[in-house]
């Protein structure tokens, strides 16, 4: 543990010193966010629950293993095709719990409201939040409301925290991925990020691109029925698949190889990405997960996922290797290979 003396003499470490102020990229879920957590927060909060940098902490209380997580939601626009900040605030948090295999039980909801924000909009957001909680099987057990002056917020920000119960025999974490594991993706990528972007930038496509925002616990529960030996689960939100896979490769000190052609990308998402110069691997999702499972269990888990409405397009997209630890390599559509790096910086509007 860091002693109090050390805390007082703590100075901003490299590579954070390159920035004297927070820039948008520090919240983008890519390299800058990662550096901020790893070099500033983690060393100062220094404890074994935080250290693995999973999306949730898992600890035992009187014999029960609990998962605990928190997330803040600052999405702009507040209303987007397929959802709004209210259901996003529940789904984001219950998904972080579900990625440990936990059954979500309770969430909190803390609102930061801007002076002048419409009560009608607040009602719409809260109705969605309540419905999403019911759908996910959680109760909003506590909450808070604060109001800030006009110009000091974007209408509404919501923070949620959540508690869930981890079943016995389940031990899921980013560091548990092992060479030989199959990498399974639960469905098509890029929908949430492009839905937000197209709404915000006024882009039009053949059909409206709708966010995939959804609670994933039920899908995870089905997967756990096949086996409790799921090594790693993550929902690739900000920073997209690329950043999530890099985090796992780093945490488990393994290499990951993916087959680009195996990754489902909806036609409209692909077209939007072409137009905007984005790589779908870096675009956010809010209702997808990647699972790392021992290869001999992969087809059974995949089959179960495909029978669930949120996993219909699930596919095995790659495997874990012992070579090039910490690095993600993609085999491209023409048969070449490339490095898939963590997202650098941020050029997109806020997406969650």
């Amino acid at each position: 543990m860091t002693s109090l003396k050390n805390l007082e003499s703590f100075t901003c470490p490299l590579p954070l010193r390159d920035y004297r102020n927070i820039v948008m990229g520090h919240g983008g879920g890519g390299k800058l966010s990662h550096d901020l957590v790893q070099h500033l927060f983690a060393p100062l909060f220094d404890n074994p629950l935080l250290a693995p940098l999973n999306d949730q902490a898992v600890f035992a209380v009187n014999g029960a293993r609990l998962a605990f997580t928190t997330d803040s939601f600052v999405v702009k626009p507040i209303f987007f095709p397929g959802g709004n900040i209210g259901d996003l605030a529940v789904n984001g948090t219950v998904n972080d719990l579900a990625m440990s295999g936990a059954t979500p039980l309770y969430v909190s909801a803390a609102y930061i409201l801007e002076e002048g924000f419409s009560l009608d909009d607040l009602t719409r957001v809260t109705v969605s939040l309540a419905k999403a909680a019911r759908r996910a099987g959680v109760q909003v057990a506590t909450g808070d409301t604060k109001v800030v002056e006009e110009g000091h917020g974007d209408g509404v920000y919501i923070n949620t925290a959540g508690i869930g119960l981890v079943p016995e025999g389940v031990n899921i974490g980013a560091a548990n991925a092992r060479p030989g594991d199959a990498v399974i993706l639960s469905g098509a990528i890029g929908l949430h990020g492009i839905a937000i972007l197209s709404q915000r930038e006024g882009l039009k496509f053949d059909s409206e691109i709708v966010s995939d925002c959804a609670p994933l616990y039920d899908l995870v529960a089905q997967m756990l029925q096949v086996t409790r030996d799921i090594h790693t689960l993550r929902d690739p939100t900000r920073g997209g698949m690329a950043s999530t896979l890099n985090e796992i490769a780093e945490a488990a000190r393994v290499g990951i190889e993916i087959e680009e052609r195996a990754i489902p990308v909806p036609k409209d998402v692909a077209a939007a990405c072409e137009m905007l110069g984005l790589d779908p691997l870096y675009v956010a999702n809010e209702g997808k997960l990647v699972a790392f499972v021992p290869s001999e269990l992969a087809s059974a888990v995949l089959e179960k996922m495909q029978s669930h409405p949120l996993g219909r397009e699930a596919a095995i997209i790659g495997r874990v290797v012992a070579e090039h630890p910490g690095m993600v390599i993609a085999r491209t559509s023409i048969g070449g290979t490339r490095v898939v790096d963590m997202m650098v910086g941020e050029q997109l509007p806020r997406i969650c």
């Binding site: 590579p15 390159d18 920035y19 004297r20 102020n21 927070i22 820039v23 948008m24 990229g25 390299k31 800058l32 550096d35 930038e201 036609k267 692909a270 077209a271 072409e274 905007l276 110069g277 070579e323 090039h324 690095m327 491209t332 559509s333 023409i334 048969g335 070449g336 290979t337 490339r338 490095v339 790096d341 650098v344 910086g345 050029q347």
Partner: protein, 364 residues
């Protein structure tokens, strides 16, 4: 998307590469002009699939990379002014000036906004009559027509609060400069398909004749690039040096004439300094006298700037195809996309960024 997918098909690319292997008898060094092509080559790993005898060197066709440091420093000073809303394509925001970048200016309270089109910048000007809106007008022949159109519209609407910081550059004079350099190794060019979609390729015919180099108009998908390389090698092996169009689905010899007319109406040719390379005669465009009122350099008199490049950065040699990014001592160590020393590590079209992002190999 089906249309694009056929140009990313392994079997089709393989057929072209097999033919390439068949016609090839010796080593050849080719340059792809455009940074977009460099990225595509690295993104799809095409470089790994080419016969060893083919060396691709990466050209100066990255507008963000060649924008002179003096102008970036000017942009930073203008963007920090309280009355200014500074609008730019996203790529420019992270390009390092002498001491800072536009992201940092934004973090310190400057109003810096990403736009997807110069016309969006005009719209901001209409909505904020009390502010001065500046658009960072950079790019090659590809962005010039839209930027020219924005100036034209601003003039027609008599917008008093909009101006453009201009750093337009032209490809053909840069190709001459590369070919004139005593250490030049380039034997053939893949010309930038999108530049040619605007300008056509008649401009390149005197170059091919004078310097005896094949110039093949080439697209950006892996199959386009493979076809461009095959066409250039075939010419070299047969001792020909012609301008050839390997991107006929987008390019005609005469180009897009209405777009050329807008450029000619709004801009005039000028000498232009290229970052890392130096001044190249007649390689730029500036606003004509009639539109000078919309030139941000005139509107905001910024002087007394002292520019300083990183002494470690070799982006000039990289932009001329004389060095590869991984031959730089700072590459991936002192210089990364989060801590770039030079613009080639920043832009989505920069060669160093392409090498870093896609090409780092195990052990590097």
């Amino acid at each position: 998307m089906q249309n694009v997918d056929q140009f990313r098909d392994e079997k089709k690319v393989r057929v072209v590469l097999d033919e390439l292997a068949r016609v090839l008898t010796r080593d050849w060094t080719l340059m792809e002009i455009c940074g977009g092509q460099t990225h595509s080559i690295m993104r799809y790993g095409l470089d790994q699939l080419l016969p060893r005898q083919i060396e691709l060197v990466h050209g100066p066709g990255c507008p963000v990379c060649v924008t002179p440091l003096e102008l970036i420093d000017k942009a930073l000073v203008i963007a920090a002014r309280p009355e200014v809303i500074f609008t730019s394509f996203g790529d420019m925001l992270r390009v390092p000036g002498s001491t800072t970048d536009l992201f940092q200016v934004k973090a310190h309270g400057g109003d810096v906004r990403i736009v997807y089109s110069p016309l969006d910048s005009l719209q901001i000007a209409r909505e904020h009559p009390d502010k001065q809106i500046v658009f960072f007008g950079i790019g090659f022949e590809t962005t010039a027509p839209a930027n020219g159109m924005a100036v034209y519209q601003a003039a027609r609407e008599e917008l008093k609060n909009w101006s453009m910081l201009v750093s337009h550059v032209r490809v053909p004079p840069a190709m001459s400069a590369i070919l004139e350099a005593p250490e030049n190794r380039v034997r053939g060019f893949l010309a930038a398909g999108h530049v040619c979609a605007v300008m056509g390729y008649w401009e390149y015919e005197p170059l091919a004749a004078k310097y005896k180099v094949p110039i093949v108009v080439t697209g950006f998908e892996p199959l386009d690039l493979a076809n461009g390389i095959l066409a250039a090698v075939r010419q070299l092996e047969q001792g020909r040096a012609e301008v050839e169009n390997a991107y006929p689905r987008a390019v005609r010899r005469e180009g897009n004439q209405p777009a050329q007319k807008i450029i000619a109406d709004v801009f005039e040719v000028c000498d232009r300094k290229w970052r890392g390379i130096g001044e190249i005669p007649e390689s730029g465009w500036r606003l004509r006298e009639a539109f000078r009122a919309f030139d941000a350099e005139h509107r905001f008199q910024v002087s007394d700037l002292r520019v300083s490049e990183s002494p470690q950065c070799i982006s000039g040699l990289i932009l001329q195809g004389r060095k590869k990014p991984n031959e730089c001592a700072a590459f991936g160590k002192a210089c990364t996309p989060t801590r770039p020393l030079g613009a080639t590590m920043v832009s989505s079209e920069g060669a160093c960024a392409a090498y870093y992002r896609y090409g780092r190999r195990i052990g590097q």
